[in-house]
Subunit: 374 residues, 2 copies
């Protein structure tokens, strides 16, 4: 069988599951660190796994340009290339084509564009995207879609959604099922419940191993995002994995888990780690802030990561001010650990029927804020 | 007693020793990775230790400017601040004042200069340098000296050496002996044997816990450097540690070990790791070179580091081309491991009376060159 979710239990709409793939099991709900160019930035693979990450995401757009999917295939696939033995999900490349590439042109057939690296010309069709992800050896392949820009009028959103649907059908035909490998469809439709319904039902009729909700976390705000999830998730097959793409902050994630999402990815913990922003039990902390200059206390006294067990805030501040590479290394590890623990505790809470109280407790701790300055 | 060397054995002029400090033992000959701003760049402390490093060097100039020696002292000293529990040697600050600071003025009293970071004005005297290194809690403190520029005429070199001698005397008076802490003098005198003799004998008469040879690796070339060592080392007390500052390439190090040097520091393995240069058993390898694009083989098949056991040259090349932080991380670890293994094997060879053959073997392997391109 293909990569599939086994639902282990629920707590309200929140779900506890187990996704089986060719390269291992993912306990859900789960957060996937982003490994754009075949590396989770500033982290060695074993250290990524130690944060609690089970599956990572890699970007088809970046890898097709450099080092090239054919090259990765010759070198034994992405797992071997980047020394990540666990499950990998790849996106379709569509999102970055629209956000990064130059001179892109989109039509029913697909997208042609020029690389942001060297201007070379490429074509990405649903079939080519599936082929690339196959060469990368992704455990979970995503259909090519158009991430509808926000805001979009109803008719633009409808046309975009219908294009994505047509591409989803072609993606499904192009995908050769293999034991432990899965293909996920992507629901589009902007903020319009009717379009989301049409997209979800049509995708379910095609039949995928999992369903992503796309076109969110693009500026619509948390309230609108949750409204879309409320309108969309009940229409998706209960026994399939549900993946909210590109989300998000801890509160976004817990709110989406409460609504029945199983999988997340976001650059936030890794990117923030490179700009001295840390996620802690007391909320976000900017380590460049001068209030940390003489602070001997740990960043987060309850966190078991290297930054929190070995170093003071004063030292982390020093690294940030001095622009030392160790700063991004330690804070990326910390942030991924924070996200890993957030989801691990969420899984435990769902299993024990206390997810609502858990999420409320996390929010309450965050609202109390960071420890006072010394 | 202060930090002291116990000589365990010799093999020709090469020495096998054990340096005891307040924060642990250093088996010599040893290489000290450079941790300029209280971090060995791109390395977590535990990973530095895993490369075989026993003692690290930190830079007084950088730390006095940021975060400030008084601050480090308040935070519990440098070992605690940077989470390096082992021995630390600090330089005096003099070298970087001359190479990095602005508007520096030197006189008999000391050096005044402006910070390269913010233009703030500082004074560094022998007494202040000792005080700063005490606040940092350095196991090994270096006297303030002037690193004579190269080339220097005889009279300039003499004046510079005599100034360093006067400062060495003041440094000795300012240094309060403590159990496990040591003060090293620094021999100057450029390439002039008479000046080197005068410096070495005068320093030995003052009496230090160890003796550094300074003013080398400044452009004079390996042959000249070895000539200076041949002229200088026999004049130094046999039972004290000998430290060749700022050296060097593997061949420089083995040549100096053969002449009786016990300690080394150099930015080469760490800095090279950040510019995609790797030291291997087959010589230096530039991983940006396109010949590695499709090479599935390890960087160095005999090296047990993360880069060599987990990744292909093709992947390391990819990281270099993509400018990914993991590249400097992996290559810094590799290079420090290469240096760590080089010195560990040197110690074993000296203990077994086969150092000359060992050094010849290393040179022969390097001369054979890197593995051929695929």
């Amino acid at each position: 069988m293909t990569a599939g979710l086994v639902l282990l239990g629920t707590d309200g709409a929140a779900r506890r599951g187990r996704l089986s793939t060719a390269h291992g099991i993912v306990e859900t709900p789960a957060f996937m660190p982003v490994g754009t160019a075949a590396t989770v930035k500033a982290m060695r693979p074993a250290d990524v796994a130690a944060t609690g990450a089970q599956m990572i995401l890699a970007n088809t757009y970046h890898l097709m340009l450099r080092p090239g999917a054919e090259r990765v295939a010759r070198l034994g696939g992405l797992h071997r290339f980047m020394a990540w033995p666990g499950p990998i999900l790849t996106d379709s490349g569509g999102f970055q084509v629209m956000s990064l590439a130059k001179l892109r042109e989109i039509d029913a057939r697909g997208v042609t564009f020029r690389s942001h690296l060297d201007g070379a010309s490429y074509e990405l069709t649903p079939e080519r995207s599936i082929e690339i992800q196959r060469m990368l050896d992704a455990d979970i392949t995503m259909v090519l879609d158009e991430c509808t820009p926000y805001p979009a009028g109803l008719e633009d959103a409808r046309a975009s959604m219908e294009l994505s649907l047509a591409w989803a059908e072609r993606s499904k035909r192009a995908f050769a099922p293999r034991e432990g490998y899965g293909l996920f469809g992507i629901v589009q439709g902007s903020i319009y419940p009717d379009l989301r319904r049409r997209s979800a039902e049509a995708l379910a009729a095609i039949g995928f191993d999992g369903y992503a909700v796309g076109g969110l976390a693009v500026g619509e705000g948390q309230e609108e995002m949750f409204r879309v999830l409320d309108a969309t998730l009940p229409l998706l097959p209960r026994e399939r994995a549900r993946y909210l793409m590109g989300v998000g902050k801890p509160a976004d994630i817990l709110g989406a888990v409460a609504r029945g999402i199983d999988l997340f990815d976001c650059v936030l913990p890794t990117r923030s780690g490179r700009t001295s922003q840390a996620f802690t039990r007391g909320g976000t902390v900017n380590l460049r802030n001068a209030r940390h200059l003489d602070d001997p206390r740990p960043l987060d006294a309850e966190c078991p990561c290297t930054a929190c067990t070995r170093f003071s805030r004063a030292y982390l501040h020093h690294l940030a001010r001095a622009g030392e590479i160790l700063g991004p290394m330690l804070l990326t590890e910390h942030n991924l650990r924070h996200y890993g623990d957030l989801l691990r505790c969420a899984r435990e809470a769902i299993a024990e029927g206390r997810f609502e109280a858990y999420a409320a407790g996390v929010a309450e701790r965050e609202a109390r804020g960071d420890i006072a300055a010394l």
